[in-house]
Amino acid sequence: MPTETRFQELKRYVRLDAHDCELLRAFGKQAAPQLPRIADQFYDRIREHEDAHAVLNGEEQIKRLQRSLVAWLTRVCGGTYDEAYHEQTSVIGRVHVRIGLPQRYMLTAMALIRVELLSIADGLLGDEALPTREALVRILDLELAIMLEAYQDSYVARIEQAARQERTDLGTALAKAEHRYVSAVELAGVIIVGLDAQGRIQLFNREAERVTGYARDEVFGRSFVEVLGLEDPTDSLERRLSEVLSGIVTSQVLAGSLRTRPGKLRDIVWNLNAGGELAADSVVALATGRDVTDEKIREDRARQNERLASIGTLAAGLAHEIRNPLNGAQLHVSFLERAIKRKSNEDDMLEATRVVGDEIKRLANLVTEFLDFARPKPPDLKPTSLVKAMEHACGLVEASAKTAGVKLACDLPSSDVEFPADAAKLTQVLLNLLNNAVEAAGATGGGTVVLRGRRGPRQVFIDVEDDGPGLPSADAPIFDAFYSTKEGGTGLGLAITHRIVTDHRGTIDVSSRPGKTSFHVALPLEQSAGV
């Protein structure tokens, strides 16, 4: 029997023949313009799905993934299916395994793509679509088979790893340990990691798996610090860890961060404890950790809100009273201006009164903005179209962007979505962010500003990006009232923006580096009851 490669065998099994290849090649050429649309829709669907969304890291990554999806679709409909083709598909399969994409998502994703490709075939070929449809089904089955093999390889590797682990001391120790202790460790709502004298992971409980995204058999025997990308602000983590491991000190508390399997940072407070009685075992220390990322965010927000509320009540009354002397000053200046015009008409004196008048107007604007901020009306929530709100805001900023020489791009979602919002206030938010972005981008002479809207599982996401010089520092209190980096700015724009977003029960945050600053607004798709 002539030796057959795995790929040849698979091809024979799904009965993909030369005629199919021809059909697919012809189909690929005709369908090419429609492929980017499939990729767009595909990732919009993923954004709406919570678990799948969690694996993704930002818009740039999504763009990259969309491009590779189009490249893959093009290859699948390319008509050439050789060993190189097989290798490329295997690589993709292994990437899926590496990033921890569950099999069920891979399968449903393939089903989605199958539906799209078949409907394109129907659209292009009508009554004569059948042979092409069959060819498509065969090649997609082939793809599926190759990708599933990658999972199988990983499964075998895991079983082997687990079997190796069984033979180590830990395996026997665990077997001997009392069952209730095992459950206690397993079910505890804290991260529990057991370490041997070299700082290698020997125990990894369920919470640890949940928070980090790693399965235990992936991390057993690997360095605690390396595999979780542990960092602490003082860089003393490794020293302090080794103090506990060597038994110099019995316990340490440290706040730091870890990197999850999908690459996200979480803030963790660690308790490191030397093993004591456990010391006979290979586990010489236990690290228990609590994920405080969400707590920290909540605390920061609550502090911010408290601060805003106290400023509000204190100063709102004062602001009203400022309007009276301003009024007096304004009228006297108007009077002076008129008197000067009548008597001498001296230009520099007129100029001086005009400057005073302008300054009074500026103060008046400040007072009005401040009162908007300090005494906000609750938002008047009505179903609002994301696309309309975005287009409206872009229209309003277009002129000033043009003047500043800034390119303004409005990146709409592939389908519109309605969510409860106060349209006027939402416009104010978008305008504040867009105007800031235009100013920032314009500062370097003709940059780009992008307004992007997307639908998530339970929220809509609105991003405003610019390629300006970036914020002066990562910790700049930009959402605080009266913090301004702009000449002539009131320092209230972003504070008001923050207020409006939180009044909508949404969140706003920012990431910034030179050349790219982006504000992310997330607003709920549904307002919970009792609002």
Binding site: H320, R323, N327, G328, H332, A364
Partner: protein, 128 residues
């Protein structure tokens, strides 16, 4: 609507506790052809509005000693619905929209945009 003879279209009643500033505003309006009477509290404003002939326009602040601007405006309206009412205030949010109606008053926030006030008064005078 018939023109009530007891209303002097060129006269303006200005009510505000800040006398110095009101006098200056009266100077400017006088310059622009209006006859302005300045009063500093709610009670004297109401007693002025009790007498005929009435001014064609009333400019009033909201918070004032003895009677507030809303009361003054409502009283003026009850005397003659044709009086042009301008609320000139440092806290426009205090004015409840239902308190003065048909027509609603013109509300101007301090500091005053003088050109806008002049426009309102001239238009009211013309329509009489």
């Amino acid at each position: 609507m018939s023109i009530p003879p007891r209303l002097r279209s060129n006269e303006v009643l200005l009510v505000d506790a800040d006398y110095r500033t009101s006098r200056r505003l009266a100077d400017l309006l006088g310059d622009d052809g209006f006859q302005v009477q300045v009063l500093c509290d709610g009670a004297s404003a109401i007693s002025r509005l009790a007498r005929s002939p009435l001014p064609g326009a009333l400019i009033t602040e909201l918070a004032m000693p003895l009677a507030d601007g809303e009361t003054i405006a409502r009283y003026a309206r009850s005397r003659d619905p044709a009086i042009q009412i301008v609320v000139l205030t440092r806290h426009p949010h205090l004015l409840k929209p239902e308190s003065i109606q048909n027509p609603a008053p013109v509300v101007l926030t301090k500091p005053l945009d003088y050109a806008r006030l002049l426009e309102v008064l001239r238009e009211a005078r013309q329509n009489r």
